[in-house]
Amino acid sequence: MLKDVAFGQYYPVESFVHKMDPRAKILYLIAYIVLIFIVKNFYGFAVCLALLALTVVFARVPIVKVLKSIRAILFIIIVTFLINLFLHREEQDVVYFSWWIFTVTRGSVTFATFMALRLITLVLGSSILTLTTTPVALTDGLESLLSPLKLVKFPVHELALIMSIALRFIPTLMEETERIISAQKARGADFESGNIFSRVKALIPILIPLIISAFRRADELGDAMEARCYTGSRVRTKYKKLKFSVNDVIALFFVAAAFAGVILLNVYAGAVI
């Protein structure tokens, strides 16, 4: 169950998007996020969704894999939707429903829907990046994009390695968590009942063994890395060379078109938010 968390789960197929340079993908994702935050009406949103859909098609990743990523933040989406729905206020609004401090208005319905859509499309877009980019490519891309920071002695290489190791250990620690949970359940631990405090307290017998084992793993990993001649970035070379390709240029065209479309629609189609 925990293993299904889509984040960090690379989906290995050959596709247009998989072949793109990780730096381009990171930059386009940032552009896309900017886009979904400047968009002001549902027409513009349709443009963002079209860009997203196009990317999914060209990534050759099953749509369920992409949609699964929403599960991780479904709770947050619902809570923000409800808060916005009941508490958002606008001047001169049509009131649909009102009770105590809660009011639902035409404005609040639009606003809540819009914000929820933003969150959902944000997560979907980010998950396409992790689904189509290997963790090493992702961290190599970040390392390269952040490399100017080396000038101010920022440990870019180390940061990238830490990220790569963290991504590498997500499935391992997830598996371990599941194992510990079943072991504690077999000993009669109860994680499902009681109030919030007793539930949080029930997590301690999971967290303690998990932390202890993580330290042991870190210790062994350190030995293994040293035994494999790791000394820092002194003489290090890189196997994978990052290279922009024609795919990145084609994708840039689509991103730019979406930007132009959204800005034009913002200006000419009115704002609902």
Partner: protein, 276 residues
């Protein structure tokens, strides 16, 4: 020149009450297949780390192809020529994808890009893991992961390969897969040191070294080891099942000698049956 040479080596972990390795002297020849065997806490892993220079001896000297591990300027060369595969395959991989993980070692020693590609090809082939090249390591079985870990070490092109209980977390099939790879590497002139507590992994080694509480209790051929009841008892080891059966048979007046493998026992029994 010896591949590995230890001279009166003693080592004690910081804060530990007793020494982990005590006054150990031994040599290992190039191309040899050596098994190091002993009960828990007998100092086997400590010995492996001493050879690879992860730890330096408190007193005495460890040399790998003549280079002293206490000389920090030689450490890089020593680690290049001597790779270790550890017990838990999950805790020795740095990258999620097999190919990226195998590239880690060559990248560390500054190998050129094209050459890294060739080394990955070679290492994956030698460990029989070509098929997993672009897969997530977390999706593989224990035996497959451990073979990928071996590939990660092979890509550095070491002359000595140490396996520190690298098969102990695997099922019988995974163990066989890994040992087959190791044996074929040894045939290609690789010096192999297998640390184990399975007696049957000792059977087809050139030499067995038995450790007990940090001391060398025995250093000789597997055959000699299996004949020495005293050593086996003292070190708390267990004979392979076929050997045990043969000893039981001998107690009951049926002498089939001292077979180490199932096949050997079958053959001896067969000839005995035919004679009678």
């Amino acid at each position: 020149m010896f591949a590995v040479k230890l001279e009166n080596v003693t080592f004690k972990y910081e804060g530990a009450k007793r020494v982990a390795v005590e006054n150990v002297s031994l040599t290992i020849n190039e191309g040899e297949f050596v098994a190091v065997i002993g009960a828990n806490a007998s100092g086997k892993s400590t010995l492996a780390k001493l050879i690879n220079g992860l730890i330096a001896p408190l007193s005495g000297k460890v040399e790998v192809f003549g280079a002293d591990t206490s000389d920090s300027s030689k450490l890089f060369e020593i680690r290049k020529s001597c790779g270790i595969v550890f017990q838990n395959p999950d805790n020795q991989m740095v990258a999620s994808i097999v190919e990226d993980d195998v590239a880690f070692g060559p990248e560390n020693i500054g190998v050129e890009r094209e050459e890294i590609g060739r080394r990955i090809d070679f290492a994956l082939k030698a460990s029989g893991t070509e098929a997993f090249r672009s897969q997530m390591a977390s999706r593989l079985s224990g035996g497959q992961k451990q073979r990928v870990a071996i590939a990660g070490v092979l890509a550095i092109k070491p002359k000595i390969l140490i396996l520190d209980e690298s098969t102990s977390m695997l099922d019988p099939r995974g163990r066989r897969e890994v040992m087959d790879v190791v044996r074929s590497l040894n045939k290609e002139k690789m010096t192999v040191i297998v640390i184990t507590h399975y007696m049957d992994e000792v059977v087809d080694c050139d030499r067995a070294i038995v450790l007990k509480s940090g001391n060398v209790l025995f250093n000789g051929t597997p055959k000699q080891l299996f004949q020495s009841d005293e050593v086996i008892k003292k070190a708390g080891l267990e004979l392979p099942v076929p050997t045990k059966i043969a000893l039981k048979l001998k107690e009951n007046g049926v002498d089939v000698g001292l077979p180490l493998t199932k096949e050997e026992l079958e053959e001896r029994l067969w000839t005995l049956l035919q004679k009678n």
